[in-house]
């Protein structure tokens, strides 16, 4: 973990020294989903004229993030904040509506399937639902062999099965599981298999979308340990999507807090948990159920998260923020770096109305 993990945001990647260059850069990323169906369904008859009307869900609205080599960047936020969309867009499962994604300096969001192949090997994904992420008609052996065969077509049968055996051992899967099917295993075991599949091609970057949310508490610890072991042994970089702040505090190098498709705060984990800045981060942190009995009153937010169809003007949080003023209602706040290595997108903090 480097102390200077947060490079200033404004300038693009410094070329040259590879170690200083972030592994992944996300710039101004936007993703809209159309709600209006196909062309014929968009036509509406209004005021005597046929007009084409389209409505969109604004899942992400201008996200900037950088991920340094070797770190675990956790993205947290409540459902609908766009954190999973960021993960899926980075992995190329969705095409961004605007913005760019650079991997190791190279833009990857506009590459052809062919040109993307080398990057597919270097970046892998782990999914939330272990019950759906394994093909029910394939044995574990087939599941694990498939990515290896795809990315190493020149390997012999023996090399492939050696690799499978190695990766199975490293995630704690017994060798005799290979002939079985996914449904014969429990959720935690399936998640191990899914992690093994991701590790099989020796990636350097892993996007994990809520990888432990569907698991029981005692199993969560096992899988989290496995992910941390893999990071240490294989020098992995993680983009870790979760809603569980306790996991973030334990696992993350840095944390990005998202609200309604925007990043409102990015900070090193210890800094964020010691001194959350953004009003939303503060409310979120105060709501975590704690085991201690002296419970501080949590911050109650006014109202509810607005729908991402009609975005509020200005700061997306202004309607629920106790510190909002006229500027917050009009002007979109940008992420501003602070001395302690954090970046906060809040006018109140920038102006010193809030510390």
């Amino acid at each position: 973990m480097t102390a200077t993990a947060t490079a200033p945001l404004a300038h693009p990647a410094a070329t040259g020294d590879e170690a200083a260059r972030p592994l992944l850069e996300i710039r101004g990323l936007e993703k809209r989903f159309s709600l209006s169906g196909d062309f014929l369904e968009q036509l509406k008859f209004k005021g005597g004229k046929l007009v084409r009307e389209q409505e969109h869900v604004h899942a992400i609205n201008g996200v900037d993030l950088e991920i340094q080599r070797g770190e675990a960047l956790c993205v947290v936020g409540e459902s609908g904040c766009g954190k999973s969309t960021v993960a899926r867009t980075v992995m190329g499962l969705l095409h961004p509506s605007a913005g760019e994604i650079r991997y190791d300096g190279q833009r990857i969001d506009n590459l052809s399937t062919q040109a993307l192949m080398p990057y597919r090997r270097r970046m892998q994904m782990i999914f939330q639902n272990p019950y759906a992420s394994l093909n029910p008609r394939m044995t574990i052996q087939q599941t694990l062999e498939e990515p290896i065969r795809l990315h190493h077509p020149d390997w012999s049968r023996q090399q492939v099965s050696d690799k499978v055996a190695e990766v199975m051992g490293s995630v704690g899967i017994a060798a005799d599981w290979g002939k079985r099917y996914g449904h014969e295993f429990s959720g935690g075991q399936r998640q191990r298999i899914a992690i093994a599949r991701a590790l099989a091609v020796d990636p350097e970057f892993i996007v994990a979308d809520e990888p432990i949310s569907a698991l029981d508490v005692s199993i969560q610890a096992q899988v989290l340990n496995l992910l941390m072991d893999a990071q240490r042994d294989r020098h992995l970089t993680y983009l870790f999507i979760t809603h569980d702040l306790a996991v973030v505090e334990h696992f993350g190098t840095r944390v990005a807090v998202m609200y309604l498709g925007r990043v409102c705060e990015v900070a090193p984990t210890a800094t964020l948990f010691a001194t959350p800045r953004h009003p939303y981060t503060r409310a979120l942190m105060s709501a975590i159920p704690r085991l201690e009995d002296d419970r501080p009153q949590h911050i109650r937010l006014e109202g509810e998260v607005p729908t991402p169809v009609h975005l509020p003007s200005g700061c997306v949080f202004h309607a629920r923020c106790p510190h909002a003023n006229a500027r917050c209602r009009q002007e979109v706040p940008a992420l501003i770096a602070r001395d302690d290595g954090s970046q906060v997108a809040c006018h109140a903090i920038e102006e010193g109305r809030l510390d």
Binding site: D38, R88, T113, M125, N135, I173, A174, R192, A194
Partner: protein, 318 residues
């Protein structure tokens, strides 16, 4: 390393046969008398049809064996029957039992052939439409709608008439089986395409497909290796119903004179050929093949019902 703690001893891997023996499929089959009887009858039908050349007392296609003097003999339980002809004879003096055995063979060949063609077209189109989506989906599904708005009979009449007009009746008779397979297969593929598309859409949203995509697998492999095997249950279920439908369609076409020629009869053309003789008292020429057809279609439908109940994921998650 502490990950070893999860290396629990696993029980010996059950063999394929043992897994089948413990499966829900076999369990529910054992408890369902109707399914057992239906399967037994259906297997008997298929066996008879396959073994027709050896089982049948005579070859109805062989003109040398036909005795025109022995025409319209009644079946054995009616006075005036000839013990050589167990179920009597038809108007041309062919042994009815032999003709039915050969006819069932033709009906089953056309039924299975047509369903194979339907399934091939429907599965490919359904996979493409469901997985690729967008314009391809819209185009293929509109095509399916158009296809469905013509009835099978209409397609058959038009194609049959065209072939007869262009190539003559003799050519039509010679190629009747492949033609009927083609006609019924083309007319009914949208059933498959729609079912497959619906299950592809459901499977496409699952994370194992996303996992395959992030791996970089080509679309073709994802469609056929990952998604298709997971849509087999509904394909299985509609296949049984479609075989029954295809056999009925063929019978209907033959009855209308657009199907198998009388020299090479299927069950449908047998029914038709006997129809004229009902008035003259020779009811068996029509009714016996008719009963055979009804039983055949019934057992296939009953098997389909049972299969649907077993494979329905809402009733049983397996």
């Amino acid at each position: 390393m502490s990950t070893e703690t999860s290396l629990q001893p696993t029980a010996a891997l059950p063999s394929r046969w043992a897994r089948f023996r413990d499966s829900y499929l076999l369990y529910s089959f054992r408890r369902d008398l109707i399914a057992q009887v239906s399967l037994a009858v259906f297997i008997a039908f298929v066996a008879c049809a396959v073994l027709a050349p050896w089982l049948a007392p005579m070859n109805p296609y062989d003109l040398a064996q036909i005795d025109i003097l022995a025409s319209e003999l009644p079946p054995f339980w009616i006075d005036g029957s000839d013990p050589a002809y167990l179920l009597g004879t038809d108007a041309q003096g062919r042994d009815l039992l032999s003709t039915i055995l050969y006819g069932a063979r033709v009906s089953l060949i056309i039924g299975f052939g047509a369903v194979a063609l339907q399934a091939l077209l429907g599965v490919v189109f359904g996979l493409l439409a469901g997985y690729l989506g967008g314009r391809i989906d819209a185009f293929l599904m509109r095509l399916a709608d158009i296809q469905l708005s013509f009835s099978t009979l209409m397609v058959a009449i038009v194609v049959g008439a065209l072939v007869k007009a262009i190539f003559g009746g003799a050519t039509f008779s010679a190629y009747a089986v492949p033609l009927l397979v083609l006609i019924i297969g083309l007319a009914e593929w949208p059933q498959y395409a729609r079912t497959v598309r619906a299950s592809v859409l459901a499977e496409k949203g699952k994370e194992y497909v996303d996992a395959a995509r992030t791996m970089g697998l080509p679309s073709r492999r994802i469609m056929f290796r990952h998604i298709l095997p997971n849509t087999l249950s509904p394909i299985f279920v509609i296949s049984t119903v479609q075989v029954a439908n295809a056999i009925i369609s063929e019978a209907a076409l033959s009855f209308l004179g657009l199907g198998m020629p009388e020299t090479h009869p299927s069950l449908g053309s047998l029914i038709k050929s006997g129809f004229d003789y009902i008035q003259s008292g020779s009811w068996w020429i029509t009714l016996i093949p008719g009963a055979v057809l009804v039983v055949l279609v019934l057992v296939i439908n009953l098997l389909g019902d049972w299969l649907r109940d077993v494979l329905n994921p809402r009733l049983y998650k397996g």
